[in-house]
């Protein structure tokens, strides 16, 4: 009796959360999905057009660029932040006062993508810091307008993003490295393993779960990259540095081809969900263990 009363009361407790999440999160997800099969333009009544938007997405030569850029982003903006994050974590753990290094290295990660984008807009400007430093060390011939030329702009932005995204990976690896048993490392050292052999043969296999988590997280975030690109180039010049998330925004809120934008959103989600599935699986199994 009492038990039943509690379960009924429980509905009142979850009601605000369920209602808000349903209205603001779940309803839009379903609606976007439906929208992607229509020619909705925000003005005229929408017609059901089947898979036309999706077919257009793969046939339209304009969209090869964002797809290509998104792939470049997904690969490089995963590899660099994870690899550099690991190198930082691995190197500072040996040093006294590693906490101090850790804080300094993490500072860029506390800044919003928007603020970092504005900052690197100045640094990568034609007469900005980066070109001045290049000239200072004798590479003036490399000077260029880093954000206004393709493909340099995509790589420049990935560089700026890496600066910002590395901190979290370092933190993940620090947690992983601290949990390592010392014996295998000592044994390997006595056997004469050092430097890269030690890293690749002993350390990396031992913290593999952390590599999986960090990489999946980086994949999720880089595949739907928007803020950094929008702030630094808006996808330009033309559409040369556009990624799929920028395409989605442009189609939806500038060109008002809502059906098409919805199809791009669904495409981003499908790939994103695959990453998310494996991510959640690895995070949750790790949680159960610890």
């Amino acid at each position: 009796m009492n038990f039943n009363k509690d379960t009924n009361q429980a509905y009142l407790y979850i009601a605000p959360a369920v209602i808000l999440v349903s209205l603001i999160c779940i309803y839009p997800i379903i609606r976007t999905f439906i929208m992607s099969f229509t020619d909705n333009d925000g003005l005229n009544p929408a017609n059901f057009i089947g898979f036309d938007n999706y077919i257009k997405l793969f046939l339209d030569p304009n969209y090869i660029i964002p797809i290509k850029n998104t792939i470049i982003w997904t690969v490089l903006a995963t590899v660099f932040p994870v690899a550099i994050g690991f190198l930082f974590a691995y190197s500072i753990q040996f040093l006294p006062r590693s906490n101090f290094f850790q804080i300094l290295i993490y500072i860029p990660a506390t800044v919003s993508a928007a603020a970092a984008g504005v900052l690197f807009g100045f640094i990568l400007d034609k007469s900005g810091l980066f070109n001045q430093v290049l000239a200072l060390i004798g590479f003036e011939h490399l000077n260029r307008d880093w954000l206004f030329r393709a493909p340099e702009n995509t790589y420049s932005m990935i560089g700026a993003y890496t600066w910002q995204a590395t901190g979290i990976n370092m933190m993940i690896f620090l947690v992983g490295l601290q949990g390592l048993p010392k014996e295998p490392m000592e044994a390997a050292k006595i056997d004469g393993a050092k430097g890269f052999t030690l890293i690749f043969k002993i350390v990396i296999p031992m913290i593999m779960p952390y590599f999986v988590i960090a990489s999946l997280l980086a994949l999720i975030n880089s595949f739907r990259i928007f803020d950094s690109v929008w702030v630094m180039t808006m996808g330009g010049p033309g559409r040369y540095s556009e990624t799929l998330a920028v395409t989605m925004y442009r189609e939806g809120f500038i060109i008002f081809d809502l059906g098409y934008a919805a199809a791009v959103a669904v495409l981003i989600s499908l790939v994103g969900l695959v990453f998310s599935y494996y991510y959640l699986k690895s995070v949750l199994t790790k949680e159960d263990v610890s």
Binding site: D6, T7, Q9, A10, Y13, I14, A17, V18, L20, V21, L23, I24, C25, I26, Y27, P28, I29, S91, L95, P96, L104, I107, P108, T110, S112, A113, A114, A115, V118, L119, G121, F122, Q132, V133, W163, I168, M171, V175, I213, L217, I220, N221, R224, F226, D227, V231, M248, Y249, G252, F253, L258, A261, A265, I268, S269, L273, S276, L280, V283, E287
Partner: protein
């Protein structure tokens, strides 16, 4: 002895090497602060690496504040506080209901709430914009708070559910016998125990709201409503060419709150970040 000295030398070399690497790594931050203190002409004509202990600091701060970052900062403080605290309250209630009141199909209800953070945000934008315009809450503070609260609930519920699973049942049963209502148990027993996770979730969600650009861009337009990130980007588009240092100063101002939160929390951050980073846990 030989081994020991070698170790020491290695450590010193490593230490010095690391100091150089880290200095290079945070040089952009140094560049930001130094150049935010220059006058517009000192910046545009001069050497960007030059350090000038200028007097432009206060001037630039006032200009940056008045040209838009002030409104943005105040708006985002409201969004951060209201959005995050309401989300934490609703999530606390929901997690309590699901775990402590032994809800039937509790896991399913939890997954329903959690599903709100699994999809990329691109899936939310078009219908939200459409509905906000139709209802008349597009470009209002209420509309943005409503969105931020809702979007922060799933991650907060996730963490707080984890907390409730760890609280011993004896406490609750004892209070029940003494005649306490569920609300009293929640308020008098659970709340004091949950202080740390509640604060952690609040600060992580505050940081997420503060750093959000996409929703602010889609759901607001005017300077009196838009959050700090859109304000900053809007200022950059208008003034970056004419008055670089003012925009750099605005960037500093827009970055201080999240930096302070990190310095306060440091390592506690990481658990929450990795757990919820797909959604709104991302820093």
């Amino acid at each position: 002895m030989n081994y020991k000295t070698k170790e020491k030398v290695n450590l010193t070399v490593g230490y010095i090497g690391m100091i150089i690497v880290v200095m290079a790594w945070i040089y952009p931050v140094f560049f930001l602060i130094v150049n935010a203190n220059k006058t517009a002409s000192e910046y545009s004509k001069g050497d960007k690496t030059e350090i000038i202990f200028g007097t432009a600091f206060i001037d630039n701060a006032i200009k940056a504040w008045n040209k838009g970052i002030g409104d943005g900062v105040l708006n985002s403080l409201i969004y951060g506080f209201c959005g995050s605290s309401l989300a934490v309250i609703f999530a606390f209630l929901a997690a309590f209901g699901i775990v402590r009141l032994k809800m039937k199909n509790g896991l399913l209800w939890f997954l329903l709430i959690y599903s709100g953070t699994v999809f990329p945000f691109q899936m939310y934008l078009l219908p939200l914009f459409e509905a906000y315009v139709a209802i008349g809450i597009y470009n209002t503070k209420f509309g943005l708070i409503l969105m931020y609260v809702s979007i922060c609930i799933p991650f907060a519920t996730f963490v707080l559910r984890g907390f409730f699973l760890t609280v011993p049942w004896e406490l609750q049963e004892l209070a029940k016998i003494e005649g306490a209502s569920n609300l009293q148990i929640l308020y008098k027993i659970m709340m004091p125990l949950a202080k740390a996770p509640l604060l952690l979730v609040f600060l992580i969600q505050f940081t997420w709201i503060w750093n959000d650009l996409l929703f602010g861009m889609v759901l607001s337009r005017s300077t009196s409503v838009r959050p700090v990130t859109s304000a900053l980007v809007g200022m950059q588009n208008l003034y970056a060419q004419m008055d670089g240092p003012t925009i750099l100063m605005a960037t500093v101002m827009a970055s201080i709150p999240t930096l302070v939160i990190f310095l306060l929390l440091q390592r506690h951050f990481i658990r929450g970040l990795t757990l919820g980073s797909m959604g709104t846990g991302k820093g």
